[in-house]
Every structure is written in C-alpha cells, then in structure tokens.
Symmetry: D2
C-alpha cells in the first residue's frame, strides 16, 4: 500500500529534505507540493538537485485536494502553520515542522513567539514529536509537532539523565554550535557566504532563543519541578549539523551508563564509549544521533556532547520517522542511509 | 540471493564510499574489508560515520578467504592494485578502482604512470568501466577497470559529440574544477584545511595529468584517429564534485540535441535545457551526472559543462553500478539516492 | 599634507575595503562616508571589523560638503554612479569604482549595461584605471574609471602578449574562477552560505558577462583590430580571489619572457618562473598580482594563469593606487601590506 | 635606527605571520630566517605569498651569526625551543612563541607537557607575554614567553573580573571555538580539508588541554588562591580565530563595567556595548581583541565572549607587540592594520 503524501512549504530546505528522503521510501508517494511564491514552478527549477525525481509542480495550498492525501507534512513558517492547519480536514494526519504546536501552554507560546496562538483547540491533540520519547503517543496521534532542532539535540543529551536524577538541575549549561541551514533559505546579510564563512559567533545570548521554551517545558515535566537551563547557540561556517556541549554536575561514568542503557535499543542513537566525543562530520545527511560523555578533571563535573544533522534528525528525518509510526510503517523505513563523509 | 562482497583498501575515501553505498543495497553483504595499515581496527574507529553498520573488522588481504567472496572491489593505489589482483583467484569477479587496468597499451601505462605494468596478461580481459558506454562488455566481464574521475567527467561531456562528429577534434579544451576528496586521504601540506580552503589554483598544467591517458585512448578510438585535448585541472575548496567546462568548436544546438538523444534513456545522466549550465551542488553525494550546453557569442563555438560527484559517479558509485551489471542485478540498485543539498 | 577623502557607497564591500586600506595610509584622512540606506549609522555598526578606527558616521550624499574634499571614491552601483558624479563639482578628483566610465562608446555601454548613459560628456575625460597601463594618463586625470575585477585579471594575463604580437588573437579563451565577494553584499539566494559553499558552477556563459565590454575595447585597441575572446566565469566557494586560466596559441617561453619584461619594474606584479602557476591563496588581502606561464604538451599552445584579490587589486586597492597618482603620492603608499595566509 | 631581527622556525604559520607583520614595520629588518627541514630554500618557495618581500634564505640555526641580531623570535616547537634558547647568547633579546617558558614551576611544566624542562635556569628571567597585563616587566625583559592562543583569549575575557572579584571562582566554564591554524602546519588526518571542513567537534575534553596550565597559574595568582576552570576547545572549519564563551556567576552589568574600565586605554582591546557579542569575523588578520558581556535570563549569571585571531593577537602579533616594548618602540608599531573582512 502506498501512502499519499503532501508537503506544504516545499520550496524551503526542510521541504526539499523531505522530498529527498521520501524519494527513497518504498511506500510513500508525493502527490502534492505547495510553495506560495513559487507556485507553478517545477521542483527542478527551485531545487535542481531533485530534477531526476518525478514530482508534481509546486502549487498553492488551496489547489490541493486533501481528500486524496493520507498524510501532510507542513513545513511552513510558524504562525502561518497554525492558520493553515486550522483549515485542513480534521481527519487528515499531519506532521508539522514549525514551532506552532510544540508548546502546550498558550502563554508559553506567546512568551517565546510574540503572537497569540489562533489554533489552541488543536494543541490539545498535538503530540510532541521527539520520537524516542513519545513513540506510543505519536503512533496514535493525528497531529504531531516536530521539535526545534536545537531542542532535539539538547534533549537527546540530557533527557535520560534528568529522568534518572543523576545530574544536578540548577547549573545545566548547553553551549551549541549550529550549522547555517537551520536558519532556512532566508535572505539575510549574515547568512551570505561572504559574511558567514571563515568565522563564527554566538547569537541569541542570555536566554533569548525560542527553543528554550521547549527545554523549559520538557525538562521541567521530566524533573517534576521547574528546570531552567542556560543555552547559547553559535553560528559556525558549515551547512549541516548541531553539536551540543552540555556542562553538568554529576558523575561521568554514571551518566554514560544511564545514556547507554536508555538508548540501547534505539536504531538511530549511538552512544560512544565513555571518554570519547562525537563530531558533526559523522552524522551529516543522516538520521543518526551520536552522543559522548567525558568526565572533567574537576570531580563531579561531566560533559555530554551530542550531534545530529539539523535538517535530518533535527527536522525532516524526525518528521518522516514520526510519519512512519502514524502510518503503521516500520519507524526506520527510508531513513537508514549512512551519513555522507567526507 | 545475497552477493558476498569484499572491499580491498577500505580505509580510504573510495572504500568508505563503497561501504556507504552497499549498506543501502538490498542484495549485497560485505564479508571482508582490508586495510593494511589499519588491520585489526573496527571500521567505526577509522570512519565513525559508519558506526551504525555491522561490518567485519579491517584485516590484511591474505586473511581473506576469497572462496567465500562473489565480487571484490579493489580500492588500492595504482601499482599496488595490479600486484594484488594478479594473485587473486582467476574466477573472482573484480571491480578495480585504481588506474591499473584503464589503459590498454603497456606503453601508454608506462608513459603516464612511470612504472612497468606487471600484470598485462590481465589487461586483455579488463573492460573500461564507463558504464553508459561499455554496458554490454561490463555485464560479461570478470575484471572491470573503473575510470579516472576527471576522465569520466570529460567523457560524459564529449563522447556523444565526438562519436557523432559534431565538434572539431583539434581544439578541444577541458578546464576542470575539482574538489579535494579526489586527492584521497593523503597527508600533504596542500591538502590541509588551512592551505586549501579560501583559495584555488591550477595544477598538473600543460598536459601532464595522468587522466589524459584515458582521454587519448578513448577519444581517439571513438574518432578513429588520434585526438589530443588540452586538460587543466584546478583544485577548489570543496570536498566533492568535479565540474568540466569543455570549450569546443561546433554548433551548440546540434551538440545539445546530440547529447539529449544519447542520454535519453540513461537513468543517471540528466541533460539540462539548451542554454543552461549545471552546478556541482546538485549532484553531491549521488550517482547523477548533469550536463548543459551553451552557445557562445562567437559563432561556431559551444561550451559543454558536465558535473558529477567524484567519489560517487566518478568512482565508487560507478563501481557499484558496474558490479550490479556483473552480478545480474538491476544497474541502478542501491544508487538512486538523491543528492544532498544544501 | 593630508588629503581629505570622501567615500560614496561606504556600506558595501568595496567601500569597507577602501576604509581598511586608507586607515593605514599616512597622508589620507577620511572626512565623509555616504550610505543611503544606512545613513546615520556608525561604521562600527555596519562593519564591526572597523570599530577601532575613528570615522565619520554614514551620511546621505547631499550632506557632504565637497568643498572640503580633495578626492572622492565613488563605490556606488553602476547607473547610480553616473547620475551622482554628474552632479559633483567639476573640479573634484574622482575615482569611480563602478562600470559607468569604463567603456568609451555610448553604444558599447548600452549594449552591455542595457540603459542609456546620462553623463557621456564626462566620459571624454575619464581615464581607464588599469594603473600599470595608463599610469601617465591617470596621474593627470580628474576622473578615473576603475576596471572590472575580471577585466583586470584577464588584462594582466594578456595585454603584454597582445601588444607584442606573440599570441594568436582569434582563439583566446579566458576561463575564470571567482570568489563571491565580487558579487557584493547583495541578498540573493545563490549567494547564501548554504547554497554557495561546498560546490561551484559556471555563470554568465556564452559571452554574456559585462566585463567582455572591457576586453573587447582594450584588446582591440591594443591589437589595432577587433579582438573577441571567449570568457566564462565560475563561482567558487571562497570570499576573495580571481584566477584566470587563459588558453592561447603561442610559444610559452616567448610569452613568459614577454610578460617578465613587461612587468620587470612593476611593484605589484610578480611573474613566476616559467612552468609554474600561481594560487589565489597567495594574494589574498593584498594588492599583488601573480602570473605564471606553462606550455602545453600540444606544440604552440600556452596557458597563462593570473591571480589577484578582486576586492583589493581588482577594485579598492587599484582605486587607491590610482588616487595616489592623482594626488602626487607615491603609487604604492598604503598598499604594500603582505597577503594574508593562511 | 633599524633593529636586526632573526626568526627561528620561519617555515611554520607563526613564522610566516611574523614575516608578514615585520614586512610592514618601519624600524625592523629581518636578517636571518631558520627552518631546519627547509634550509637552503627561499621563503618564496615555502610561502609564495611572501614572494614580493626581499628576505634571507632559510638556513639552519647554527649558520646564524647572533652577534648581528638585536632580537630573536623563536617559533619552534616546545621542547625544541628550550634546548635551542639555552644555547643562544645570554644577552640576546628573545621572544619565544612556544610553550616552554610560560609555566613558572618545573612541576607544572612536566604535568602538562610530559617532559622535564632542561632550561629552568632561564625560566626565572622569563616574563609571561600577555602584554596588556605584564607591560612593565616585558619592557625590561630579555626573554619573553608568548602565551598560548587559547590561554590569551580566556584571560582577556576574565582577568579583570577575577582581579576585581566580581565573578565566582569555582564555577567558571570556558567553551572555546578554535580555527584550525592554531594546530600549525602539521600533517594530520583530522586537519585535512576533506576531514575538517563542513563539520565541527570538541577535542581535549575534560581538562586535558595544555593551556589549562596557564589558566591555573595566572588565575590562581590573580585570585590569591587556587582557581581551576573547565575548558573545552572545539575545532571549527575556519582558518583563523578563537572565540571564547565564558560562563560565569556574577552581575553582567558590573562585569561589563569592570572590563570597560580595565581596557579603556588599551589600543588593541575593544569592549562592545553591554548586551552585544563579538564575532571572530571582525578581528581576522589583526591584533585586535573584541569582548562582549551579556546577562542571562537566570539572575546572577553572565556570559563573557572574547574573540581574537590566534595567529596575530594570539601569537605572532602579540610577539611583535612585546618585541616593540623590549626594543623601546611604540607598542603598536606595525600592528594597527585593520582586520580583513570579508
């Protein structure tokens, strides 16, 4: 049986990544691709690397017959996404890649995103899309909210440690190094090759990055009490990859054992031997997460490093993994391709 | 039925690329990996991006029981390759990725590679591995010689034009731009990030690059008379990709039509509309070739641009394509993954 | 004596490069900086790398008192430049970095730039700014037109050869590899880091690049008859540098000797030993040009390779060199800094 | 008066950077350049970007007549450096760029570098070369020990804060992002372009990086009691630049005011407005340090970010700044060039 797939917002990087992945999926078929500003164009014009694939032309959302769609990926900007999804058939399975259904509380959404949420009635049924930790809910869900890419990386590093109570909760620091595709295809001066390459910088310092909303929600729920972390992202001159260096108090060996146990049966999460740390080079283009734990010379301090590809495991790969579950497919279908190196 | 595969020289980039590709192949299983200097190590230590794949440890060649191998990829340096292959069972199917069996004449080999060939008796049965032009011979071959990556790129641009007689033969210029992985994992100062990034340069100027041996052999055979081209490679700061800008005399529209016709049924070769040119970005990590033709303001001059990924279509992908044919599989099996962009 | 300098269009890359260079000039002082869209801002906000320099704020052009200015650099877009310069005092020394005064014929200007020229009356006094070949005229000029960066690179490679009649005129091919800063600070999708890095492509193929207007004009004047070259630029993932690979018919040794003689006393032009070729890495951030000549295996064919930094020698460095001459300073003042490597 | 300068170890990156800087110095003249493995070669062969400069050939150290040298820069590997310096004339002024004279205690040296120090008798007179904090001692010194590049970056961020007692001493975390030229011109697999570009990773985790010896020594001396920080360096795909993200407890505004005051008269240190953070892009190729302070959403937590160019301010620029002081020159001579951007 072939599942009929629509992708809304197919002219951005996460949309193109979905097409790349689904093109290799044995039981999915893309039946509609929307892209408002590029409606009418062939995907080969917008993304020439996809020119060998037989795809529908980009269209406007209202041109899509959703009765002929089994599952819809929504790769639209936040705020737009909630407005669009509100109008879609209430029986349509949806994987949303935007930020619109990640935060359970309307207030938290407004705090981090600045606008009122117009579709809170859908929030109740939305499931947070971090597959490894919400698998059963996702399998049963109609609407899944993909996580932030930084939020995913930090949670892979720390969720099992917080759940097991093996690290301190009041001095967690997440220093992240982020490749540029996470910023999307937006035309901004600081994203130009001439401005971005050959250097690096911190941004959204001091607790202002929106993915903190997810950390607050998820870590607090896990701990059973409010948890507030420090999180500083840095833009580095590469296209794919997030590396999270997490500084925590706790025993390194115990943390390592906890992570190794938690992820022992996970097909996409690799825990390295204690004392070694992963590189973003080694997950590029794939759905894998690599995690390492190293103790510090200062007793009682540990460093947890997690890497993933922000466009794959941090976004479109995660979305496909969730779609597989929602459609009754094996979770890993279409996602086992090895990373690209060099 | 699962074909049992050995890879000799698995600790280099083409070896790792073979593993990446074969990991996604439904009817191949890797049973042996050799790497002389790294014998005894796990592939995950040598290439951490492959750590999720269950693979045999690297071993020395003499440890391999070739009776249990159906096909052997040989990703060793030239000169080593011929010495090793000479000692392998005479019934073993072999795809050689080195330069050792590309040139039919012993003299040509010595001219370009500087040493005497020690296994010329095998040359007689070796088939030149440019799949799209030697498909039938490859299907029947025991020993296939993979092409040079630059040689492949230039031939995709020009073979149909030379065969059809639509371009001049005496003023062909191939200006190539080459990513660095083509140089392999060798420790040379000019391949260091600090030396290579942020700039570019020509090398092997003036008709000294070894892949000219292949151009001479193949273009002359096609034309039925000696053809000598100018070929200048340039090293550019990227990891994958070769772009060949071919300057020829001839009619652009006729050249375009000729190429479009020649490649109409090829699964991996895309000819762009007349007047547009391809980018190396759009074939990265894939087995596709993109070709464009543009006329010049100077009447009777045309520019043909071809791009491919040197590690995939220019080397390991081509090798797998050939192995599929030799093993009776569909030629495209395991090779249809879309390029990685961005 | 300190010369009072104004820079119009200081919020672009060539403007910033002028500030960088002039900051180290012992007898120039920047008294005005214009930037229409960023008027009112401090340069440190627009270009934080210049924050240690005491500079006037960006203003609008009409706010500048040109009576207090000795020389004005005009780093505005073409078409804007001619309209602005037409209104400036007729006694003001001007170095224009745009394309507006490079082409002597109104018709040629319209052919390449698409619009009518509105200040052809100034064209008569404009001197083409390729310092090494127009030195005396520049010294006496009031208005100097900076050259195109590709046009400069190709002319450094070939002018002495055409002048001496040692190469053929009817089969010249210029294949250029260009870093991205030549495209300026413009917000275009293909200039984003995610789109540009890790790959390369040809553009403006087939004789459509505007710098051909300069080649046509200059090479024809030198040869005393029409000369039309083929010129294909390629965008490569680096920020600074142009490398021109020129394919010509002629004797390599004679070409080398001709170039060595022509540039023997030039402070900024280095001719490498016959048989070696330069790298863009070695001129980065400097006003130097490196040129190499290599013979081909095909008798009678030579390859001339020239490199320069498009923002320095190809634009702002050239402009300062010309300004030095116009102001009676030593031509090299403020320009002898060594390239930055790595 | 012209000071006669020798550079030992001129074939590495810090040696070449010294030549680049000294070439623009009005009162220094390079009289000798050593490079053991490349003795006899012209610098233009080893570093073609310096080919326009008239320089002595590389020689072996024993060929240098140190009676004709006023000051010697020693850019040799640690361990070699101490052995060489021990044999130099006891009256020769020396700026050592290695690690050999940075640590005052023999024991600390052995702990971090693994070997016994063979010239501890010289350690007594060695001055730690962080100019802004040891200016008077450096002016009077014969032997100055250049700092580690990471050690310099972290100290610029934190010294004034520790000295003023405005931050906590027991929970300092330094997360650094380091460009690759800091690793030198060494032939290692992980420094190859193909391995390093397009990704990033932590290294020397857990308190094992040698520059911790300097942090321990300097911060403890400042605080008057032992201080141990956490320090994790990360390799990022760029050639120049170190960015230190320092996580501290303390008041951001107070920290900012303290830094602004401390560096108010420093020619090379720029403190940004409170709440903004610097980028490594903005100091590239220069001797400047940019520092920013941002408060966190968590009360009592501050983030201090410092950037510098590891080859200039972190190494050769610092060395020249110190040499200026030792020779009675103005400290900034030859060092005021603006950063290169883009």
């Amino acid at each position: 049986m072939t599942h009929r797939i629509a992708i809304l917002g197919a002219s951005g990087y996460t949309g193109a990544e979905l097409v790349r992945l689904i093109a290799g999926h044995p039981s999915m078929s893309i039946v509609a691709l929307s892209g408002e500003r590029k409606a009418g164009m062939a995907m080969a014009e917008v993304f020439p690397h996809l020119r060998h694939i037989d795809l529908p032309r980009l269209c406007r959302i209202e041109e899509i017959d959703f009765a002929q769609v089994d599952l819809c990926f929504c790769a639209l900007p936040h705020k737009t996404s909630q407005a669009v999804i509100r109008e879609l058939p209430k029986t349509l399975k949806i994987v949303d890649l935007s930020a619109d259904f990640r935060l359970r509380e309307a207030e938290a959404y407004k705090t981090w995103y600045g606008n009122d949420h117009v579709a809170m009635e859908l929030q109740a049924e939305a499931v947070y899309g971090l597959t490894e930790f919400y698998r059963d809910e996702i399998r049963a869900a109609r609407l899944v909210a993909g996580t932030g890419c930084n939020a995913a990386t930090g949670q892979f590093a720390l969720r099992p440690l917080i759940a097991a109570g093996v690290i301190g909760l009041d001095d967690i620091i997440l220093d992240m190094k982020c490749a540029v595709s996470g910023a999307g295809r937006s035309l901004k001066e600081n994203l130009l090759h001439a401005e971005l390459s050959e250097g690096f910088n911190a941004y959204a310092l001091g607790g202002t990055h929106r993915h903190l909303g997810e950390f607050d929600q998820e870590f607090s729920a896990l701990a059973g009490r409010p948890v507030r972390v420090q999180f500083t992202p840095h833009l580095v001159p590469a296209n794919r990859g997030i590396l999270c260096t997490a500084y925590v108090s706790g025993d390194a060996a115990e943390s390592h054992a906890t992570l190794a146990r938690a992820y022992a049966d996970e097909p996409f999460v690799e825990v390295l031997p204690l004392g070694s740390a992963p590189s973003s080079h080694d997950v590029r283009g794939s759905n894998f997460v690599h995690i390492g734990v190293v103790g510090d010379r200062i007793a009682g301090r540990a460093i947890v490093v997690a890497v993933l590809d922000n466009l794959t495991k941090g976004s479109s790969g995660q979305a496909l993994q969730n779609a597989n579950l929602m459609l009754g497919e094996d979770e890993t279908t279409g996602l086992m391709m090895a990373p690209l190196f060099p």
